[in-house]
């Protein structure tokens, strides 16, 4: 997008009328206009909620109104930075369309007709519906599905409620994110490591778009420190590609061929770290044999990256001081995804990139004294729906795609209700049509959120959680190379009739009983304040209140597995280049490359990706962010666009193979592989309470097909093939 500057002298503020007044910011400026000559300025340290990084900030509050969230320079993970999203988050309490009180639906689902309800009324309504549903299923409490995002401050209270309620059906975020990546790295290293990017000098990024998918401290360290070689393989010319030393538009889904050829070159030229391999790895001989034919010439045919470049990269990588083939997220998300990740892990392993400065490092964490909730036993408890569909199903995460398929077929039992906590299912899970089919089968859908997401819009009862800037959260252990404990405390008083998650779930629990007639509310003890006081020491709590975090003070924790303080968590206790475990399960013990199918004539592979100003579907309607991108557009390679007779700005209809479709503006660009198309997430909203994106642009979930990968259960978002037609 081209940014021009200052045309106001010719045309005045032409765009100003389009959005009208943004009450959130007007609220802020009005409040400050009325202030005295010496306003009361206070700073409250707390932590961000706009993405998973939870950066600690200093909240600047002027006369009781949040003016800005400034970065806290001492917080080691974010080192004095606050991204656009974090800054814009200051608007959220003042969002005129935020959830302000409990709502019970009065019209049809998605019609947007609600009545305001008291908390008691909402709880009672939910309990009546859920208890009736459970009774209709003969007491099978598994009939209620629990859905949530992952790693939020109060999620354990929600999981506690689910545990005592007695349903094993939990769906968290990982299988629409990185569970395949975690599984791939776990199978080699026994854990999913982070990378000590600040000290690395040669980085290969496969799909990981760290300039746009901001992740602390990796983004800071990757681009804020000069002198690193960055190789970017991605079918899309992202901003990361623009900042890389060299970009290769790899054929989509062929990352494994690239990695295997790298291994081939390194081993053929004897550039591996043999000492590391001998001491820490198993299966080296098998790997060496396995990659014999994975020549750069072969990989060139598959990936489209010249053989000479693959050779050069392999050599440079092996000879670099601290090379990292980055274990980032979006890469293949195609059929052999776990094995693709395994092959990337192995490129690291053979050059000895493990648990050392500048390399991959297993995460550490600081423990706090948190009391887990004991499960309640129920006579008619059933195993989770998709228990047989995924080889390494993580019970705590579930697997979205097969779970939903099972629920649609009531196989082996019916799902009658959904409790959804902070996961915008409608917008984030592939194949929105199927999600709506699922919703149609539900007796009750409860959504707990802070704003009217598309999912809340289609729920029956909406419970408003208190905004993160108004909320007290308990201490949170944030793992990483340099672990910390972080904190959230209110900057301002609660503005509306909202409650923190803890209060919602503990109060709701009191409306349910176990089979012995005991209230489930009994399982919740104490308030959040009580938990704060017992989970950490008084001194630590004091530091949390003043700084928003504490660390051990020892800095990064590197080398524990090399010093023998920590074992390697694989079945053999070694870094596994060959996996007996996989072989025993009938899976390929080594990564076997399978050529991805071509989209076919006139068709495209649909890619998903991130944008620096957005966190998935959450932020597109934040005014200060939306101003930078009022709607999304679909990237189509210029040549292909010409073939279709499509010009930038034309409206096109994108249709997948199962009939899912949406309409969106085209953007003809050189910046994408001719076989692929892409558009950003978060737009084309169905919720009228997200007015800036309601019906504006398109939604990814409308055109993503549902595919999953049976080793980790991860959704395969890049298996979607679409057609494009000008409308």
């Amino acid at each position: 997008m081209t940014v021009t500057r200052r045309r106001f002298l010719q045309g005045s503020a032409a765009a100003a009328g389009a959005l009208g007044v943004i009450p959130g910011l007007r609220y802020v400026s009005q409040a400050s206009e009325g202030r005295s000559s010496s306003p009361e300025v206070k700073y409250v340290n707390s932590s961000c909620a706009i993405c998973t990084n939870k950066c600690v900030f200093r909240g600047q509050v002027v006369d009781g109104v949040i003016r800005r969230l400034e970065p806290e320079p001492d917080f080691p993970r974010a080192r004095g930075m606050m991204c656009a999203r974090g800054n814009a988050g200051a608007w959220t309490p003042y969002d005129p369309n935020r959830l302000k009180h409990p709502l019970i639906r009065t019209g049809k689902r998605g019609e947007g007709k609600w009545r305001k309800a008291s908390w008691e009324e909402a709880y009672k309504h939910i309990a009546d519906k859920i208890n009736t549903a459970v009774e209709a299923e003969g007491g099978n409490r598994s009939t209620i599905g629990f859905i949530s995002s992952e790693g939020t401050y109060q999620e354990h209270y929600y999981q506690g409620f689910r545990t005592v309620f007695g349903s094993p059906n939990i769906l968290r975020h990982p299988t629409i994110c990185l569970s395949s990546n975690i599984r791939g790295f776990m199978s080699v290293f026994g854990t999913y490591p982070n990378a000590d990017i600040i000290n690395s000098d040669y980085i290969i990024l496969a799909g990981a778009d760290r300039a746009e998918s901001i992740f602390t401290p990796d983004t800071i360290d990757m681009f804020g420190k000069k002198g690193k070689t960055i190789i970017c393989i991605d079918p899309r010319f992202t901003k990361t590609a623009a900042k890389s030393t060299k970009w290769f538009p790899i054929n989509p889904g062929t990352d494994m061929a690239f990695a295997l050829a790298m291994i081939h070159v390194i081993l053929k030229e004897n550039l591996q770290d043999q000492d590391f391999i001998d001491e820490y790895c198993t299966g080296f001989a098998e790997l060496k044999e396995h990659v014999k034919d994975s020549t750069p010439a072969w990989a060139e045919q598959e990936t489209g990256i010249p053989a000479s470049e693959i050779e050069r990269i392999a050599r440079e990588f092996a000879k670099a001081k601290a090379p990292v083939f980055y274990p980032g997220r979006r890469s293949g998300w195609q059929k052999s995804e776990v094995h693709t990740r395994r092959s990337i892990a192995m490129v690291n392993a053979i050059v000895g990139n493990w648990d050392k400065e500048g390399g991959l490092v297993p995460n550490s964490s600081i423990s706090i004294r948190r009391r887990p909730m004991r499960p309640v036993r129920y006579a008619n408890a059933q195993p989770r729906l998709e228990a047989d569909d995924v080889e390494f199903l993580n019970d705590g995460d579930g697997s979205w795609i097969p779970w939903r398929d099972r629920a649609l077929k009531a196989d082996p039992y019916r799902i009658r209700g959904l409790m959804i906590y902070k996961q915008n299912v409608v917008d984030s899970v592939p194949d929105r049509n199927k999600t709506f089919e699922l919703f149609d089968k539900m007796d009750i859908i409860v959504c707990v959120d802070t704003f009217m997401s598309d999912t809340a819009w289609y729920a029956d009862v909406v419970l408003p959680e208190t905004n993160y800037l108004e909320r007290q959260d308990p201490p949170f252990p944030l793992s990483g190379i340099e672990p910390s404990v972080i904190f959230r405390q209110p900057l301002i008083e609660r503005m509306y009739d909202t409650k923190p998650g803890h209060d919602i779930f503990s109060e709701l629990a009191a409306y349910f009983e176990d089979e012995n007639g005991r209230s489930l509310g009994n399982h919740f003890r104490g308030t959040i304040e009580d938990h704060m006081n017992t989970e950490v020491s008084a001194r630590e709590l004091e530091q949390l209140k003043t700084k928003g975090f504490y660390t051990t003070g020892e800095g990064p924790v590197i080398g524990r597995t090399r010093r023998g303080e920590l074992g390697i968590n694989t079945p053999t206790g070694k870094v596994e280049l060959y996996s007996e475990d996989f072989a025993g399960r009938g899976l390929d013990p080594l990564p076997v490359y399978k050529r991805p199918e071509k989209p076919g004539s006139g068709k495209f592979r649909f890619l998903v990706g991130r944008h620096a100003i957005h966190t998935h579907s959450m932020t597109a309607a934040f005014p200060e962010l939306n101003w930078h991108m009022p709607e999304n557009a679909i990237w189509i390679n210029t040549k292909r666009a010409n073939e279709l007779g499509v010009k930038s700005g034309d409206m096109v209809k994108v249709t997948n193979r199962t009939g899912g479709s949406d309409t969106i503006k085209a953007q003809a660009t050189e910046a994408i592989h001719p076989d692929c198309v892409y558009f950003a997430q978060g737009y084309g909203s169905l919720s009228k309470d997200k007015p800036l994106v309601y019906g504006r642009g398109a939604a990814q979930s409308a055109v993503l097909e549902s595919h999953f990968e049976p080793i980790s259960g991860n959704a395969l978002m890049h298996e979607t093939i679409v057609e494009i037609r000008k409308v």
Partner: protein, 191 residues
């Protein structure tokens, strides 16, 4: 002109670190309470991005942050008919919005197009506005665009202090200013 006992505030921009993430823009709008209402012209800083250049697969794209250059010879100052725009002893060019009559002469004469006009309030004209390095902030704080930047593209400090980070950067590295030929003596340095 500033005396040597005065600070002379300046900024050094390492443009090739910029990832075009817009944190500087949003932080600035927040800190200075600018309600742009979707108008891309209303901003105190911006990132020049001329789009993707080249032909697939040989592509490149650059991002260059820019803002008011806090010139030593600011062309916006002498043209103001009511002396609403002026330069402080510390080199920062400021606008007195009470005096401003909204004539836009300062904006027209700024070669960097660094000024925007606010919306007219009831009974008032539009007002010229621009970056003032968040001048009302306590001196211990950095301008919002500087503190927030993920990759620390911007370095702010006192050019008259040889030990400041800006002085050190300019001493060690080659730098340039934009539109030097205009003779404005800008104090945003690019390295």
């Amino acid at each position: 002109m500033a005396s040597h006992n005065q600070p002379r505030w300046a900024m050094v921009i390492e443009a090739d670190k910029c990832i075009d993430c817009k944190a500087c823009d949003v932080a600035c709008k927040r800190e200075n309470q600018i309600d742009a209402k979707g108008n891309p012209e209303v901003c105190r800083n911006w990132i020049n991005n001329e789009g993707v250049k080249g032909t697939y697969p040989n592509l490149q794209q650059t991002f260059t942050p820019e803002q008011c250059h806090q010139c030593d010879n600011p062309p916006c100052v002498p043209v103001c008919p009511v002396q609403a725009t002026w330069q402080g002893d510390d080199g920062v060019v400021l606008v007195d919005k009470k005096k401003c009559i909204g004539c836009t002469l300062c904006a027209i004469n700024c070669p960097y197009k660094a000024r925007y006009m606010t919306e007219a309030r009831k009974g008032e004209t539009r007002k010229a506005d621009k970056c003032n390095y968040c001048e009302y902030r306590p001196k211990t704080k950095l301008p919002a665009c500087v503190d927030t930047c993920p990759t620390k593209v911007r370095t702010f400090g006192n050019l008259n202090d040889p030990n400041s980070d800006v002085s050190k950067l300019l001493k060690d590295r080659p730098y340039k200013v934009l539109q030097e030929d205009k003779g404005t003596k800008p104090h945003i340095f690019y390295i």
